[in-house]
Amino acid sequence: MSTRAPEQPAADEMPVELPTPKRTSGWVRFWRAYGLAILFVLVILVVWEMWIRIFDVPKYLLASPTGIVTAMRKDWSKYLMPNLWPTLSEVLIGFAISVVAGVGLAIVLHLFTPLRRAVYPILIGSQTIPIVVLAPVLVILLGYGLLPKVVIVALICFFPIVVNGLDGLRLVDDDFIRMMRTLDASRWAIFRKVEFPGALPSIFSGMRVAATFAAIGAVFGEWAGSSVGLGYLIQASTPNLQTARIFAAILLLTLIAMALFGLVSLLERVFCPWVSRGGAL
């Protein structure tokens, strides 16, 4: 389905008007985009529920969808909400730090080639260290509180942002840079007016990948040592076989990741309005 109008060569004086898509209502478009996925999830939920009822699976082995909903309601104020906020703040602070540090490092490495040659291989190499084993070390180093979790989230989100940012900056078409040079642009002007905006879509896709990692980082951090957070709640509920509560906590973690992903996508629309229309570098 092409959304762009074919170019009309003869009508040179006319702008190529994009055909405003027939004003289908928001809901119709929403269902067209996500209807099948929603249906698929519903089918899985129904099958899951039926399975547990028909075969009489014990509650402590596997929670049913209705059991999860019940746990969500019953445990919300006592267990879930008090543990949601710490995890949410770890995710948001850690993610924010990784965006600032990741984009910043990508820019610095891009502008200073020798530095990129020196640092880039180490950066790639550092990714082979599993974050899971780093988490306990960071807890020893930074204590039991918020800080080590934020650092782990930031570490896990940092890499995709730096790599995508560097790629985006590096892959800007040389012709644009040459054009700018004949128009008296300084190195800084080329960066600010061409390279950085050109790399923005790539930076945002790095951020989207990072958004899905952030919650995982927070859970690793909490498992390594914590007395609050959804990761802690999962860990504490396991010996008690509170399976429905564990599932409810997992659901909340998923929702955090999806909300962050949605936020990044929204920001991309605001900051890169030209991308959705097919303009690209």
Binding site: E7, Q8, P9, A10, A11, D12, E13, M14, P15, V16, E17, L18, D173, D175, F176, R178, M179, M180, R181, T182, L183, D184, A185, S186, A189, K193, V194, P197, C272, P273, W274, R277, G278, G279, A280, L281
Partner: protein, 280 residues
Amino acid sequence: MPEISDTKTTGGRLEEESVVATGPRSAAASDDTVGIAFTGVRKAFGDVVALDGVTFEIERHSRIGIVGPSGGGKSTLLQLTAGLLAQDAGSITVEGETTTQGRLSRCAMMPQRDLLLPWRTALDNAMIAIENRGVSKRDARAKTRPYFEHFGLAQFEDVRPDQLSGGMRQRVSFLRTLMADKDILLLDEPFGALDSITRGQMQEWLLRALGDVPRTVLLVTHDVDEALLLSRTVVVMSARPGRVVTVIDAGLRTEGLSRREIVTSREFIALKESALEALE
């Protein structure tokens, strides 16, 4: 938009007072009549010799078309002139400037692809050279806006490039090149990416836009018609390594004639024949 009334009378030329100084002109320009001089220019990329022994001179404020088979180093010649590349041997003098930096300060280049920045509106694209000289966005917009009408772009100032037609994008690109206010314009197959009907319209438009503008224009094209139509002198180049085969003095009368009348005239066809012969 206080300047709009001015532009009606100025034709394609940007008025002196409307542009910011481009810096002190070099006093080294020994001969005022020579715009660009190539002497024994050679350029190779690895083992591939793109240009060899290229020698010719371009009079200041004349319009030169360069035709040749593709891959003949025509674009390389433009990039050398603009100072985007350094030659391997020989010398290039652009209004007295011999260094790449000096050449870069004298030339503005219009690329084959319009290369408009997709995140900037048409107006913000056109003004980028002024902005690069340190003028504020607001002032740069005010300086550039009046030219949109003259370029047939009125009311498209705030439209992003992806909503303009190919011909309009190319005009914005040309305006952007002009706003750099350089004495030398390098046009690298400016209409190569357009379909033939739009290209014809754009050639006619450019012919008028250049008018009697006192600028040195170097036009690279693989289209003999385009070269003869738009330039006073046509330099025919050979395939790799690119050398000058012949120089044709076109100098067709174009005033008051339409493109159709020019390209179908007996004079034009005779010139075209000799150009095509030289290309073989």
